[in-house]
Amino acid sequence: MLLNLKNIYKWYNVGGNRTFILKDINFEVQEGEFISIMGPSGSGKSTLLNIIGMLDEPNEGTYNFLHENVFKLKEKQRAQLYKQYIGFVFQQYHLIDELTVYENIETPLIYQDVKTSERKALVADMLDRFNIVGKKDLFPNQLSGGQQQLVGIARALIAKPKLILADEPTGNLNSKQGEEIMQLFKQLNTEGVTIIQVTHSEKNAAYSSHIVNLLDGVIKR
């Protein structure tokens, strides 16, 4: 088991009323799964993903990741955990505009104190694998959306994570580009990477091994 969530609640207090975003979420992910979280806008998909990614905390509930109780960990240990095991892919790619393709991909390694020589080798591998060697010195705004997302995925994979979290990864792409990205995910999944994606699209969800439907913060069975 890679991770499990038990009795997760997340709410906001608006004018004395409690508005639930997530309500009693129980959820388990095995290694090697490819999960799609689906649901209408505002159903809590992104919040759930952020909680899994340890960027956000619920108001109640427990979260185990690789048999560690995440919310009992110290900030530093938690950071260590997600730096090592989790990669993020965003709908808006979120590349750093001031950095080149190469530097963008390299950044997570810098934060993990990987040595320069090793970093070079790893980034070169990644550029090679995604066929973007020729674009390594370009800046994000010189790339198409599909290419930017490719860089985003390369950056997410560079630290060899066990889990990729993707928030609408194809949301800003045309259908052809989107299909390519999903194909890539499929391939990564077969290579053993666990993937959790948030999506609106049935077509994208079809790539996954398992679908979680979310409505008003509750998982529909």
Binding site: G53, D56, A79, Q112, R155
Partner: protein, 825 residues
């Protein structure tokens, strides 16, 4: 027309609301500007005061001071002094009947005044260190000092005195009752190298002068008729027909007729002087305009307070720069706020506002901020003024009614600051593209300003660091002044004014014995301390029966035989003076020997030196090692020392190492018993020396305060820029955090930029400060070298304070939850 007023009303309304909504920013803006403006107003008041000296005299454009131009070995060519020979005023009157007025004036020091009641019995004693002047009624034809009662003409008759209202109140309680009363004055007067005592003289109060304004170098207290006592004495005093030397504190002022220019008169004066002087004297006289007197630090004046034109310029420069720093802050903060205001601009543009209207709106906002800042700055000024007065020993007042220039200045500053601070932000803000702003895509349009803002930050820190370096250099120089070995012992030595009597050495011997019995380590009676600032008397002398005077003058000090051991002076040749009530032997310093061109110190021994026109002729018996006989502003000068009990004015007492307080009490008792009619005073030598450097210590304080304000204001600006960058880079920070960046990583990301900016500022500030401070140090005969650590620590301080400021914003950005900044919407 009506539309326009609605519009203007609308401008003010939105501007006001905007300030209320952005309280934090508004506060920083207003506070920063207010501090900057307050500094400006304060400096303006100081400068206005300093440049207004003796500007209230109706004839000020025609009043001139006569300076003696002379040649001294140590001054390297021509030097000027305010002292003139006694005969000069009368000489000028005869030679130049066209002069409207010629005023002789003698400033007396350390006079003892005794108040007598109607029966002639003494009631009270007072001592005036300065403020006692001897002059003729013509003084009041030239200078405007109104009378409350009596007449100026009464000064025609000797033994009449005019008191100021304050002095009359101190002496008699009520100034109205003072007229006609009698005061007895005792003191001494200088002539050449000598200080001569004059007998107690009764003076009749013949009039009361109105309060003397602070902005004059004539801080009158008692004005005694010229001709009283020594000033009218033909045998020993100022009327000696053959006395042809200038004498300390005796000056001459003239009132030129309107049709003669100073240049023209100076020509005639030169001709007059050349006819007057004997062959070997190359001296002359020159007129100096009254408005230059207060700024002439070299010659000084009767108030002993001067401020050089350079210092006034430096003050202006500091005021301007601090105001600029404050404006830069405003620009930085307002353009940084563009991010927050972008949406408003977009909406307004979509609704049909044009560029000009938007710019006007932002200018109105700036105007409101500036007006609030000005109001606050006036408050700060009023609160800070007493401290400034205390620091600078001035009596400035913030009186807008009597001083319309201040109102004008404040008005001008409001306009200038609004223009300086408001113009650029209004353009930046109004140019924002509505399509981008409404989509919240600010990047392209706002990054352009960043390089300008960076430039402005560099500018601010250049100024701040120059001021820090300046402060350090002045402090270092001060430290040098204080701790430099002077060549004599200055510790635990107290000087007490002393009145000689006619018994020769009897009184001094009696006092010495009594003091030594009470545990003091050593006692010497003398005319001057080893080191003096303005109190040195230079004298001409003839060496070894020469016909001509030596081509330089020497300082003379009259000292007893205990002077050398008390001050631990070192004899390098010959022997110490022998005890004597008269002048029988001379001690000289090495510098005098060298100045005479004698190589071997022993060679001067037993040669004769003659001073005071041959009145005193004695052999040299010893040479002392050079010590600093003048304040460290100047190099040391040739020195003559001799015994003469009538010239001693103070007792120098070396205190024991323990029981200082009880010893001081014993001394006071002895003094009060011996001199019942005089006020007891004492002064420690090290305090007196520290006082020489008062002006430097004030300057150091001023620099320190300005440096602190500059740093403070720069940091306000930096804070603004950092918060702007935090907003601008919020997305990047979010991404980096998701990618695993720690808080330290993010803080470093922000700090790196500012480290670079401050380093650039440091590189610019260092040569600038080093140039200016070296210029400043040129004023001193003894200078410190500016050490590398001065620059290093200035840079380090600036960096440290800046990083602290920045890291506040950086940490805030770093701990923010990335989920918020990266939210997909």
């Amino acid at each position: 027309m009506k539309n326009r007023t609605v519009m203007i009303k609308n401008y003010f309304k939105t501007a006001f609301r905007n300030l209320i909504y952005n309280k934090g920013y508004a506060f920083i803006n207003i506070a920063g500007l207010a501090v900057g403006i307050a500094v400006c107003i304060l400096i303006f008041i100081i400068i206005q005061f300093q440049t207004s000296f003796d500007g209230f005299h109706a004839k000020k454009d025609r009043i001139y001071r006569v300076l003696s131009e002379s040649h001294r070995a140590d001054a390297g060519g021509i030097s000027y002094e305010k002292n003139v020979p006694f005969l000069l005023p009368d000489g000028l009157k005869t030679a130049f009947p066209q002069l409207e007025q010629v005023v002789p004036i003698y400033a007396s020091h350390n006079d003892e005044l005794q108040i007598l009641d109607d029966n002639g019995t003494p009631v009270k004693n007072f001592k005036e260190q300065n403020g006692v002047f001897y002059t003729s009624p013509t003084f009041f034809n030239v200078f405007d000092f109104p009378l409350l009662s009596g007449t100026y003409e009464s000064l025609k008759d000797p033994n009449n005195v005019l008191l100021t209202k304050e002095i009359a109140e101190t002496y008699f309680g009520d100034w109205k009752s003072a007229v006609g009363k009698t005061i007895k004055i005792t003191g001494y007067y200088s002539m050449g190298a000598g200080l001569f005592q004059f007998p107690a003289t009764p003076l009749k109060v013949s009039g009361i002068l109105a309060t003397i304004p602070p902005s004059t170098d004539f801080q009158l207290k008692l004005v005694i008729a010229y001709g009283t006592n020594f000033t009218g004495d033909k045998q020993y005093g100022f009327q000696q027909p053959n006395w042809n030397q200038s004498t300390p504190d005796f000056g001459c002022y003239v009132l030129l007729p309107p049709n003669i220019s100073a240049d023209n008169f100076n020509q005639q004066l030169k001709g007059y002087a050349s006819k007057l002087q004997s062959v070997n004297q190359k001296g002359s006289y020159i007129l100096q305009s009254i408005n230059a007197v207060h700024h002439d630090a070299q010659t000084g004046n009767y108030s002993s307070k001067t401020i050089s034109k350079e210092l006034i310029n430096v003050l202006w420069l500091i005021a301007t720069f601090i105001l600029l720093i404050a404006c830069v802050n405003f620009i930085n903060l307002s353009t940084a706020q563009a991010v927050n205001r972008a949406k408003e601009v977009g909406v307004r543009k979509v609704l049909g506002s044009n560029l000009l209207q938007l710019q006007t709106q932002f200018l109105v906002e700036t105007f409101l901020v500036v007006v609030s800042a000005v109001v606050l700055s006036i408050l700060i000024t009023v609160l800070a003024l007493p401290y400034a007065n205390q620091l600078l020993e001035l009596s400035l007042s913030f009186n807008t009614f009597s001083n319309p220039a201040i109102i004008l200045f404040i008005f001008a500053i409001t306009i200038i600051v609004t223009a300086l601070a408001g113009f650029y932000p209004s353009i930046v803000l109004s140019r924002l593209n509505p399509v981008n702003t409404l989509k919240s895509k600010l990047k392209a349009s706002t990054t352009k300003g960043v390089s300008l803002r960076r430039g402005l930050v560099v500018f601010q820190f250049v100024i701040a660091q120059v001021l820090i370096i300046g402060t350090f250099v002045i402090l270092e120089q001060m430290d040098y002044f204080m701790n430099q070995p002077l060549g004599f012992d200055k510790n635990a030595i107290v000087n007490i004014p002393y009145r000689p009597d006619s018994t020769g050495n009897n009184l001094t011997d009696y006092l010495k014995q009594k003091l030594l019995l009470n545990g003091v380590q050593a006692v010497s009676f003398n005319s001057n301390s080893p080191i003096e600032e303005n109190n040195n008397t230079f004298t001409k002398f003839k060496f070894d029966h020469a016909i001509k005077d030596a081509d330089f003058q020497a300082i003379t000090k009259f000292v007893d035989d205990d002077y050398v051991p008390t001050y631990k002076l070192q004899l390098v040749a010959g022997k110490n003076l022998k005890p004597s009530p008269f002048t029988q032997e001379f001690l000289v310093n090495e510098s005098l020997v060298k100045s005479l061109g004698i190589k071997n110190l022993e060679d001067i021994l037993n040669k004769e030196i003659s001073i005071m026109g041959g009145l005193i002729k004695c052999p040299v018996v010893g040479v002392v090692k050079d010590f600093n006989d003048r304040s460290l502003h100047h190099g040391l000068a040739p020195l003559l020392m001799a015994t003469n009990s009538t010239m001693y004015r103070q007792a120098s007492i070396k205190l024991p190492t323990v029981n200082i307080a009880s010893t001081m009490q014993t001394i006071q008792k002895i003094w009060e018993q011996t001199f019942p009619n005089y006020v007891y005073e004492y002064r420690f030598l090290d305090e007196k020396i520290a006082n020489f450097y008062n002006q430097e210590s004030q300057l150091a304080q001023l620099y320190k305060i300005c440096a602190i304000i500059a740093i403070f204001l720069s940091c306000l600006g930096l804070y603004g820029l950092a918060s702007f960058m935090a907003i601008q880079r919020i997305k990047e920070v979010g991404i980096r955090k998701v990618l695993g960046a720690s808080i330290a990583n993010i803080v470093y990301l922000f700090s790196k930029e500012f480290i670079i900016l401050i380093s650039i500022a440091f590189l610019i500030a260092t040569p600038l400060a080093s140039y200016f401070m070296n210029q400043w140090l040129q004023n001193y005969a003894y200078q410190v070298t500016i050490e590398w650590w001065v620059f290093a620590s200035a840079g380090f301080i600036a960096l440290l304070i800046a990083l602290l400021t920045v890291s506040f914003q950086a940490v805030k950005a770093a701990v923010a939850n990335p989920v918020k900044s990266l939210r997909t919407e």
